[in-house]
């Protein structure tokens, strides 16, 4: 069936079986292999994507559910204009918050979602926000450090309005 949605900022129409798992559609049909499939059962978060800005698991979504949605995968997180990495991605590099890397795309997208909802999370809130993402290398400390740093970075990068309302 024909499915129309926005993927990483680009509107697209695809022809796919309605019951195709979204993670398979992304990886195998569209070649976006940044999204990983770990458990396939909602318990590891490696397949996390953003659907209309909210974190969801692409292993538990069927193609038809993409209809009309705005989807963001790890490939679409950097700046479309100049390719600059997202502050969360930068912080992951800076803090070495990557070991084998398999959980990283999901971790990064969950962190982006968390910081959008709560720009100043405590370490506890960061751990809760990443609670759906397993790192089997157990490198959580640096990941939490990176998200803390990203929160500071995001804050710095957003110009603050001055009194007269101009930026």
């Amino acid at each position: 069936m024909k499915i129309t949605f926005v993927l990483n900022g680009q509107e697209m129409q695809i022809d796919a079986p309605p019951d195709r798992k979204v993670v398979d559609l992304l990886r195998e049909d569209l070649g976006l292999t940044g999204t990983k499939e770990g458990c396939g059962a909602g318990e590891c978060g490696a397949c996390t994507i953003l659907v209309d800005g909210e974190s969801r698991l692409s292993c538990l979504m069927l193609a038809v559910q993409l209809e009309g949605r705005r989807i963001k995968t790890i490939e679409g997180l950097s700046d479309a204009e100049n390719g600059a990495l997202h502050p969360v991605q930068e912080a992951f590099i800076e803090y070495g918050a990557v070991q084998c890397g398999f959980c990283t795309p999901g971790m990064v997208l969950s962190a982006v979602h968390l910081l959008e909802k709560n720009p100043h999370p405590t370490r506890d809130k960061i751990r809760q926000g990443l609670g759906g993402n397993l790192c089997r290398c157990t490198g959580y400390v640096k990941i939490v450090d990176a998200v803390e740093a990203a929160a500071r970075k995001v804050e710095r990068d957003i110009p603050k309005p001055v009194k007269d309302g101009a930026l």
Binding site: P17, P18, D19, G40, A41, G42, E43, G45, T48, E54, S55, R56, L57, C59, L60, M61, L62, A63, V64, Q65, E67, S110, H113, L114, K117, N118, P121, K125, Q128, G129, G131, G132, N133, L134
Partner: protein, 292 residues
Amino acid sequence: MRNVLLPRSLSELWDHLRAGSGAAVYAGGTDLLVKMRGGLVIPSLLICLERIEELKGVSEDLGAIRIGAGTTHAELLAHPVIRAHLPVLASALGTLGSPPIRNMGTIGGNICTASPAGDTLPPLHVLNAEVELLTKSGVRRMSVKDFITGPGKTCLQEEEILSAVWIGKPEGHNVHHFEKVGQRNALACAIASFAALLRISAEGIVEKASMAWGSVAPTILTCPEAEKTLVGERISLKRLREAAAIVRNTVRPISDVRADADYRRNVSGNLLLRLMEVQTPDDCARLNQLPA
């Protein structure tokens, strides 16, 4: 290939939901799609309820709260009415799955899955919640207790959906407590869980008690005997221990990959002892911290 329908309204849904079609209905997909992957269910047609606006949202009607069955756990957790009036449910939602699971899963789905470990179920029992069941031609209501008849078994009939949950606002309770024991803090299926709604007077007398346990029997367990032991008495460790002994004799736990039956039996009693620490709304708020 199997067809998946995405009705936009209830009237579109009724066109598809026909007896004998072999259709499975889902909302968030966090249970059904996992079961399908394991080959435990093989429906010939899927109907996804996520786009039906009539099934979403929270409304208040006099003393009652109506929760659309298609409202996600994250939406409920963020909702001021739920946080203000149903903190015992909010606490349970805060422990349910993980952020993406809460963004997908719905309260109606959690009830229809009817797992003994369903996190919303002990709170819904102590709140005396009712389900609203809808067909093309009519609506009926029954208590969540009666609706769930066994592990994975409900009274839902063919051509019928769970459309809403009705909960009377609890009045006069000052302890709204939920605690779950799992193998880890996030993404944990309950080994045992416990919900309690109590009224404790300034003098420490338990005036009302409604309690329920999850994951320690085929369906959610209530224990009127243990409640009777507490009501009318000053709350004390001695009394709680007596009630806990009754609970341990009442539960019917199984052994599985998460824990064995003896552990579940012990911990169900121990969860009751926690009430020594939660005797005021402040205690509850401190112990039952909600995620952002």
